[in-house]
């Protein structure tokens, strides 16, 4: 009797663990969370390679400072030591190579992550990202600040494809998760090893850009209010935000 109870308990525990494992796998597939710090060298084969330079190594194999991609801040004048400021802009270039014959395109999801000071002196900086907003330890002020940053700093690209080089389709949309769609970007049925250059652009408009639906019909007084509100938001970002970085998730399309 005792033996049967023990066996039942063990089998029940194993079942629960398996259930949790399946659920976790399903959840991670559904919500595309951040994955960092994984050692992928043990994985036999991957579907795409993403490099920082032409014919360069996969970014996942790089470490330290080498793993960061440049975004063009160092090319700007009048901005202090490569810092973000209203009016700043730049481009990000990476090189995507299919490693499986089934891959015929890719999607690129650019994200903005902002950092603010910790609550108390000596605390670590707090990183705020879109994924974190769904399960936040953040204050409402921090959430609002993140949303303002996403309104002011936007990603976009040039339309059309050119031989050997891809320019992301023109998308300017900061209110929903932005995904740059490069499906069918490779021409042949077997694209293994064919490297393509992808360039994305970003900018922080110096003044309110009047790009939203309804902006064109604003009265002169309302336009001034919009400009003033945008400037005040810029001041808020500059005063409270400590830092900003970008994350680009490149996923294969089959």
């Amino acid at each position: 009797m005792k033996k049967e109870v023990v066996i039942s308990f063990i089998m029940c525990t194993i079942t629960i663990v398996l259930l949790i494992g399946f659920t976790l796998a399903w959840y991670t597939n559904a919500s595309e969370p951040t994955v960092t710090g994984l050692d992928l060298t043990a994985v036999q084969e991957t579907e795409i390679k993403v490099a920082k330079e032409a014919n360069g190594p996969d970014v996942q194999t790089l470490s330290g400072e080498d793993r960061y991609i440049t975004i063009g801040l160092e090319d700007l004048l009048n901005v202090e030591n490569g810092k973000f400021a209203p009016g700043a802009f730049g481009s990000v270039t990476c090189y995507v190579t299919p490693l499986q014959s089934t891959v015929k395109g890719c999607t690129i999801h650019p994200e903005l992550i902002v950092t603010v000071k910790g609550k108390n002196v000596g605390d670590e900086d707090i990183s705020i990202s879109a994924n974190g907003l769904t399960n936040p330890p953040f204050t409402q002020e921090q959430i609002d600040l993140f949303k303002i940053a996403n309104e002011h700093i936007q990603f976009y690209g040039k339309g059309g494809l050119t031989t050997g080089e891809m320019d992301a389709a023109s998308i300017i949309n900061s209110t929903v998760p932005l995904v740059v769609d490069l499906q069918d970007a490779w021409d042949t049925t077997d694209n293994v090893g064919i490297e393509k250059k992808v360039t994305l652009y970003w900018k922080w408009d110096y003044e309110y850009p009047f790009r939203k639906p309804g902006d064109s019909g604003l009265s002169p007084e309302d336009r001034k209010e919009k400009i003033k509100e945008y400037d005040n938001e810029d001041t808020k970002l500059g005063t409270i935000l400590k830092g900003i970085y970008f994350r680009f998730t490149v996923a294969p399309v089959k």
Partner: protein
């Protein structure tokens, strides 16, 4: 008897065998379940990581907004713009400091190099003239045009020499009236005088990162004069008071690309 003992022994042996087989079976089941669990977890992660690649940029700081303030000439307190009473023929002077020196509340701001502009706004009830001159601090009273000191107990005496000529200004009243929606019928709509240049034609500018102290200060004197003499006809004045405002605004430049960078779409 012997047969019974043999049977008992066989039964004990059979029980022992069953127990052993049962434990062995349980261990095998556990091992199989553990292997299955590990395979499941590894397969989940491997399947996920095959899907995508992530690349990040390094965290870059956000530039703090330029910090600009108006202080008394002693640079300790905020400017108190109070002229007081003025009689015909009298001239009064207000010395002020424009600085990017941060205060305790904004200690991590300030210290940037930038141009700025000033705007003087005044009502026109009285027949007054307004001039702003740039000042240079001198060490002694000899040759000084203006002497300032803290109001209490004559502390912090400072000597100033006026730079010549007075600052040029642009009358931007029409623009401001249009912006604020005032009309000709608006009482005390004010006059707006805009200053961008120093006495020698340079941009009004504050240094920050380029100087060792990390901040810079410019000094000015505003001279308000009632030029009409003692024969002034007071009957024509409807009001006895004029209001005065002084604004300073930092000019944060729009970032420009290095010459080598091609145009961004």
């Amino acid at each position: 008897m012997e047969q019974k003992q043999r049977e008992d022994r066989e039964q004990r042996l059979n029980r022992i065998k069953k127990r052993y087989v049962s434990r062995k079976t349980m261990r095998l089941q556990l091992l199989a379940a553990t292997i299955g669990l590990v395979v499941l977890v590894v397969a989940s992660f491997a399947w996920y990581t095959w899907k995508s690649r992530q690349v990040e940029s390094k965290t870059a700081e956000v530039m703090r907004p330029y910090y600009l303030t108006l202080l008394n000439p002693g640079e300790q307190n905020e400017l108190e713009l109070a002229v007081g009473n003025l009689f015909p023929g009298e001239k009064k002077q207000v010395v002020f400091c424009v600085t990017n020196k941060p205060n305790e509340e904004n200690i991590d701001m300030g210290g940037s190099d930038f141009d700025y502009e000033m705007e003087l706004i005044h009502t026109e009830n009285l027949n007054l003239t307004y001039e702003i001159s740039q000042l240079q601090k001198v060490d002694t009273e000899e040759g000084a045009d203006i002497i300032t000191k803290d109001t209490d107990k004559d502390k912090n005496v400072q000597y100033w020499k006026k730079q010549s000529p007075v600052l040029n200004n642009t009358d931007v009243s029409n623009d401001r009236w249009t912006e604020t929606g005032v009309t000709e019928n608006t009482i005390n709509r004010g006059k707006y005088l805009h200053y961008e240049k120093t006495y020698d034609g340079q941009e009004l500018h504050l240094d920050g990162t380029s100087v060792s102290s990390g901040f810079d200060s410019n000094y000015f004197v505003m001279e308000i004069e009632w030029k009409t003499g003692s024969t002034e006809d007071f009957q024509k004045y409807e009001k006895e008071t004029d209001m005065l405002y002084l604004l300073v605004k930092a000019m944060q430049p729009r970032p420009q690309p290095q010459p080598k960078v091609k145009d961004q779409p």
